[in-house]
């Protein structure tokens, strides 16, 4: 009996511990008015010109304001710190900075704050990931040569005129260049950034509506409202606590348990429940991300004449509606062009530019592919990394769709690659001999950003090595146009060439999704599918 008595004691001790911790639990922090939001640990150091992923971007969007800012709703670039940006020739710009702005440490923001920041970003020694954004500025090849060391420390195209004006000389005409300036890489930097870099990285100082209170790497970042923020978009809450989650399922669980207020990535496993769980506290809207299947145009088997029929036929063989419905539960939208609806009309989006080639038609697809001489080698494989984004699932579905259209079970197979690093290496080294996934997330909401880096001859992300002189000409002409509308029209003409040549099959536009707790109101996502934190109201 003694044994049993001891067992009872153990059970009691355990249940006491359970109850005690139950009482102690739930004591999560987050004072009134603070938004507790899910976050991922930013891979890189939090420098404006060194952050190219969304998690670090969230923070920078809260603590920095640039010359322009993209309207959270329309995506249109509007003046923020810029008083005016003028040009007469689409190549030489004069920027006037608004008066009265300061960094949160009190330092005045002048034209020098911008020029110093941009020179720092462009210089190859500083290893900033977004350096290539300054490639449009004259003198970039001196500070950032493709090999060897820099022969100049500063961009020759930038010069400070006075406290509030500076001029920018671009390498070529680029009429919509001012509209790119809302990207975080163009943010101004305080002198503290250059003087004590390590301290700045620990606790970044910017000029946005929030201040960084503490940054506990790998677990959380606490930001509070900057009361003296001079801009029009003051924070509507008292602060934001960003909490690191490695698994979005866990974040979703915490949202349901009331330990978290905002989740900006709904796990795919929960998509079928999310309407029931959250009702109208679930957001699902287009983000500036498109997924395509690019063809290896450097391979003659895919680029010889007549093959455009095969490429178009393959596009028509994909039942986009069914796949976005059943696999993604409408968190992807079937693509009808090569850009994104997140651009809006002003940014140059026009639905349906792909035409019939992006409409599912199995019979027409089969006929086109046969007319074009059939699939190269009789069969194709689709390649993608499969570590994120349910890529494996849609590749299977796309292959299935193609096989059904062709009536051949072995026409299409998938080639899953375990990690993104491996996949990226294979695509950049042009080892692909068959279509591969090519995703693109916009840097700024302009049609130019969806076309030029991807399909212009030898452009930086043109992994399929597509090249078409007519397309290049139209892009050049568009960049030289004096008004955004005229430029957009030219870019849309260029898209029509893509529809004929089909160097990449548009699959679907990716949506941004988010869910929030009952404590919050006025939650929206901007065109980059990042929550607009400063507009969120608590309580």
């Amino acid at each position: 009996m003694r044994g049993v008595a001891r067992a009872r004691w153990v059970v009691c001790a355990l249940s006491v511990a359970l109850v005690a911790s139950g009482c102690g639990g739930g004591g999560s922090s987050g004072g009134s008015g603070v938004v507790r939001a899910s976050w991922g640990d930013p891979q890189n150091q939090l420098e404006p010109a060194n952050t190219n992923e969304v998690q670090g971007g969230k923070v920078l969007d809260m603590i920095f304001r640039g010359l322009k800012r993209y309207d959270p709703r329309s995506g249109a670039a509007e003046n923020m710190l810029a008083d005016k940006i003028e040009t007469s020739d689409q190549q030489n710009f004069t920027v006037t900075v608004k008066d009265g702005w300061t960094f949160s440490n009190g330092e005045k923001i002048t034209s020098k704050s911008f020029v110093d920041a941009w020179n720092y970003a462009a210089l190859v020694d500083n290893k900033q990931k977004n350096a290539s954004f300054f490639a449009y500025v004259d003198g970039y090849d001196k500070v950032h040569p493709t090999s060897g060391t820099a022969t100049a420390k500063t961009l020759s195209g930038l010069s400070v005129k006075d406290d509030r004006t500076f001029t920018v000389k671009l390498r070529t005409k680029f009429s919509t260049w001012p509209d790119t300036l809302g990207y975080v890489a163009y943010a101004p930097l305080p002198a503290a950034f250059f003087e004590n870099h390590a301290a700045w990285l620990k606790k970044p100082v910017g000029n946005g509506p929030y201040l960084v209170d503490s940054y506990d790497k790998g677990s959380s970042m606490k930001l509070s409202k900057w009361d003296a923020y001079p801009g029009p978009d003051k924070a509507q809450n008292s602060g934001v606590e960003l909490r690191v989650y490695t698994d979005n399922n866990t974040a979703y669980t915490d949202l349901q348990a009331g330990n978290l207020d905002l989740v900006d990535d709904i796990p795919s496993a929960q998509l079928k429940n999310v309407k029931n769980d959250l009702g109208d506290r679930y957001i699902n809207q287009p983000a500036g991300i498109i997924q395509t299947l690019a063809f290896p145009m450097y391979d003659p088997a895919w680029s010889k004449s007549g093959l455009e029929k095969v490429r178009r036929g393959l596009s028509m063989a994909i039942n986009r509606d069914q796949i976005t419905d059943q696999i993604y539960r409408k968190t992807r939208t079937p693509a009808t062009d090569w850009t994104s609806p997140a651009l809006g009309d002003k940014g140059g989006y026009k639905a349906g530019l792909c035409g019939d080639a992006c409409k599912y038609d199995a019979t027409a697809a089969k006929k086109l592919i046969q007319d074009g001489g059939g699939l190269p080698g009789g069969r194709i494989t689709l390649t993608s990394n499969v570590d994120t984004g349910s890529h494996r699932v849609w590749m299977d579905a796309v292959c299935n769709s193609i096989n059904n259209a062709l009536g051949n079970d072995r026409a299409c197979t998938v080639n899953p690659i375990g990690t993104f690093a491996d996949f990226r290496a294979q695509t950049t080294e042009q080892r692909m001999t068959n279509p591969f996934r090519s995703g693109w997330q916009m840097d700024y909401p302009l049609i130019q950003n969806f076309l030029q880096p991807l399909y212009y001859t030898d452009a930086s992300s043109n992994y399929g090595k597509f090249s078409d002189p007519k397309f290049d000409n139209l892009v050049d002409e568009a960049n030289a146009e004096s008004s955004a509308d005229k430029a957009n029209a030219k870019f849309q003409d260029a898209e029509k060439i893509l529809a004929e040549q089909m160097p990449a099959i548009p699959l679907w536009y990716q949506n941004g999704s988010a869910g929030y707790s009952e404590r919050l109101s006025d939650v929206t996502l901007n065109p980059f599918s990042v929550p607009v934190y400063e507009q969120i109201k608590v309580g």
Partner: protein
Amino acid sequence: MGRYVARRLLQMIPVFLGSTLLIFLMMHALPGDPVRAMWGEQAIDPSQIARVKHDLGLDLPLWHQYWNYLSGLFQGDFGTQIASQRPVADVIADAFPVTIRLALFAFVFTVVVGISLGVLAGLRADRLLDKGVLFFTLLLVSVPSFVLGYAFQFLFAMKLGWLTPTVQNSEDFGQLFMPAIVLGSLSLAYVTRLTRTSIAENLRADYIRTAVAKGLPRRRVVGVHLLRNSLIPVVTFLGTDLGALLGGAVVTEGIFNINGVGRVIYEALNRHEGSTVTGVVTLLVIVYLLASLIVDLLYAVLDPRIRYA
């Protein structure tokens, strides 16, 4: 004894060198380039990549990289992460305390509950209680830890609201309670079964009969004579288990959002952060080595016939 310990400690040096070399080579053999992957879907910049590689010494021949790594290690420098530019030592210093707390919690739970249940079941072998424990442990062995984790989360946090579903503060032992139990449950099952078998067998041993015949109180017979002799297989298991608890908590740490070693390894593997993986795994190897040394020393304590010279 002292000489034995010294010899064992010296033996760790080649093991340590070998394991770092192996992990270092394995990380290098992984396909793909971590520096290039930093650019994500965006355009890559060859001069930038070359610069980053040069600064981190990744452009040197492999033997040179390993030599740099080793010589750094002996000066307490675990290297630098590629993307974040953070010293790996900082990353380890952040993650290890969390995991050690969790693993010790799970370990204590395993030892206390596992041995108690095992003793109870062993003393009443083949009775109802024994059958019950057998069934319970079978359940724990067969259910994967993530199922248990989600089930606990659903039951205790979502339905009953007793606990927070995830760990908000890793220094709060109340919040570590649920993950620790999930983490320790599999070992618990093994410890219980090992103890039970060992106790049931030794119960019939001559020395127990002698002890009982001497008229010793039952408490002393079970607590000293029986338990001490029955614990040798359990201690062997627990020694290696401590290492597994420290390094193998990837799934549990994910479910409960704990910023520990498991997560660091997982992320580092995904990002091909060679120096991070090598550093963390090397530390785990050392933990294993030390644990097995302690186990061997404990044999001598438990069984006086075992002597180390």
